[in-house]
């Protein structure tokens, strides 16, 4: 069968195939990126779940999630290999005095759990996000509602842009120099809160401004035309509609705050601390205590103790819990944001 050869016919081979190959190259790059992400994620999830979950009820390793880190002791006892945490081992030695002389291998932080780290991270995130939201939303209100374009505002925006690019370790140095030393707060929650808050400030301001911008101008004009003052208009007719957007976009800021290690290394985090944060004598002491934090704990267990089967459990377990926490926050932000986009259309 011979088809009519017309000038609009697809040219044979060559060009199109080349084009398709280039497209496949781009597609390959894209999926390679996703593959890398998935590899990291799955590696940690799969290996970490051995620590966090277990086969029998309640299926979750409660020890790991609710106890403080301890040293792990490994020794031979009556021909069998035993592994014990610090406390358990001490009790064991009291029961069997002979065990005191047994030769042991020990690894710090490799037994027990990571409860204090979880607590510390949550405290750090809550405190710093409160500060960052208060400062950031106010700043955004000024920039979007009050400010008129001018040299000053351009300067402020420039500062925000630049602040966003400052490395986190520099924030750490700054927090150390200012809060820890100059203000004399020492390594404390308060110092960590402010350091982290300043670090996410640009994120929060940008997110808040965007949400404020998406509230239609009519809401403001309508309110002002009824004789509302500017502040009444903002409080009653702008903020309530911008707030969901502000909060969801700021969740991404939370993920950043929770994930950063460098800023808290010298401002808020301790390698170990026996007491839990609420174990304080005076209420005021609460703010001036350092805490353990998940990201710092990961750093410590992955750099300060050797890599082997015994230490791997706590390393992967901590990384898993932390990654899951941050991933949950990030997913929440992404999902909520797309929901919000669909819901509010005025």
């Amino acid at each position: 069968m011979s088809t009519v050869s017309h000038i609009f016919r697809t040219p044979p081979g060559g060009v199109r195939r080349g084009e398709r190959m280039v497209f496949w190259l781009f597609r390959g790059a894209t999926y390679f990126v996703l593959l890398c992400g998935a590899t990291v994620f799955l590696n940690i999830v799969i290996k970490g779940s051995h620590t966090v979950f277990k086969a029998e009820a309640p299926f979750i390793n409660t020890t790991f999630l609710t106890q403080a880190p301890e040293s792990l002791y490994i020794f031979e006892w009556e021909g069998k290999k035993r592994e014990m945490g610090d406390r358990e081992f001490r009790a064991f030695k009291e029961q069997n005095p002979a065990a005191a002389k047994v030769e042991t291998e020990s690894y710090v932080y490799s037994a027990g759990g990571i409860w204090p780290c979880i607590v510390g991270t949550v405290l750090l995130v809550v405190g710093s996000m409160t500060i960052a939201l208060a400062l950031g939303v106010s700043a955004a209100i000024y920039l979007n509602e009050y400010a008129r374009d001018g040299a000053f505002i351009r300067f402020v925006r420039l500062a925000i842009l630049n602040l966003a690019g400052v490395p986190s370790i520099v924030f750490g140095l700054f927090g150390f120099g200012m809060f820890v030393i100059y203000f004399g707060w020492n390594v404390s929650l308060l110092a960590g809160w402010f350091t982290l808050a300043f670090m996410v400030l640009p994120v929060v301001i940008t997110a808040s401004e965007e949400s404020l911008k998406s509230v239609p101008k009519g809401f403001r004009e309508g309110s002002l035309a009824l004789g509302a003052t500017k502040w009444q208009t903002i409080r009653k007719n702008v903020l309530p509609y911008a707030l969901p957007g502000i909060l969801t976009s700021s969740i991404l800021g939370i993920a950043r705050v929770a994930g950063e290690t460098a800023p808290i290394m010298f401002t808020a985090a301790y390698v170990v601390r026996d007491k839990l944060p609420w174990d304080v004598e005076k209420f005021g002491d609460f703010f001036f205590q350092g805490v353990m934090a998940l990201p710092y704990h990961i750093y410590v267990v992955s750099s300060k103790i050797p890599q082997n089967d015994y230490t791997e459990r706590v390393q992967y377990g901590t990384a898993f819990v932390f990654l899951l926490l941050v991933a949950l926050i990030a997913t929440a932000s992404i999902v909520l944001r797309s929901r919000l986009r669909n819901r509010y259309k005025w």
Binding site: G222, S223, L224, L226
Partner: protein, 277 residues
Amino acid sequence: MVIATPEIMETRRAAPASASPPSAGKDTIVDIDHVDFFYGATQALNDITLAIEAKKVTAFIGPSGCGKSTLLRCLNRMNDLIEGTRVARGTIKIHGVDIYEPDVDVIELRKRVGMVFQKSNPFPKSIYENITYGLRLQGRSDKAKLDEVVEKSLRGAALWDEVKDRLHASGLGLSGGQQQRLCIARAIAVEPQIILMDEPCSALDPVATAKVEELIQELRSRFTIIIVTHNMQQAARCSDRTAFFYLGRLIEYADTRNIFTNPANPQTEAYVSGRFG
């Protein structure tokens, strides 16, 4: 289109003088006197002089971009919200008070000079809250009083029968025409003396438009209404006096009947009879 300037100058002087002497009339409520207005460097209003009478409906007409909205927004100082705007010359007096005096409080001014916008803008709150919004701002929270005002305003805006069963449903759930009437109800709830309407019907279908026009007729006994419209029939139907603007200048201002049947200025005639540009 090029206009011969002398002609206009003449008209401007002639027209208002014949209609009502500036700031003289006993029932003049708004007195605009030789006003120039600028958006930054661009001049939007040029030497406007106009006296608006109380308890009457005044219509502003003119081709797009001639400054109708600008003048309207000058009257409750909504233009203050736009950066770089200024009244460069002249005065605007309401009840004899120059509203651009530094000691005038814009908030108080806007309570007394209400506004309805071209695009209806009910707040995403319930109907009830939309209407009580202005009152609550003034610190009134007496439930009985608020209920009374809601009913009165909704009846005033001819909306009561349609929404009385769903006062606590969202204002956004109403139809376009109902939304616009809700905005009118919201405006009259704070008992202003003057209501400014900027093309209130431009987004409505004929039936809804008719309803709003009816409403305007009812409201004229209680409020001074200034309405911007592109619809000649509407201006003819529901206004008492009409001002025709062109390129930032007031061309003619007279009784509506005169404007539509016997305009003094050829441009006005061209415009109202649709032979424009």
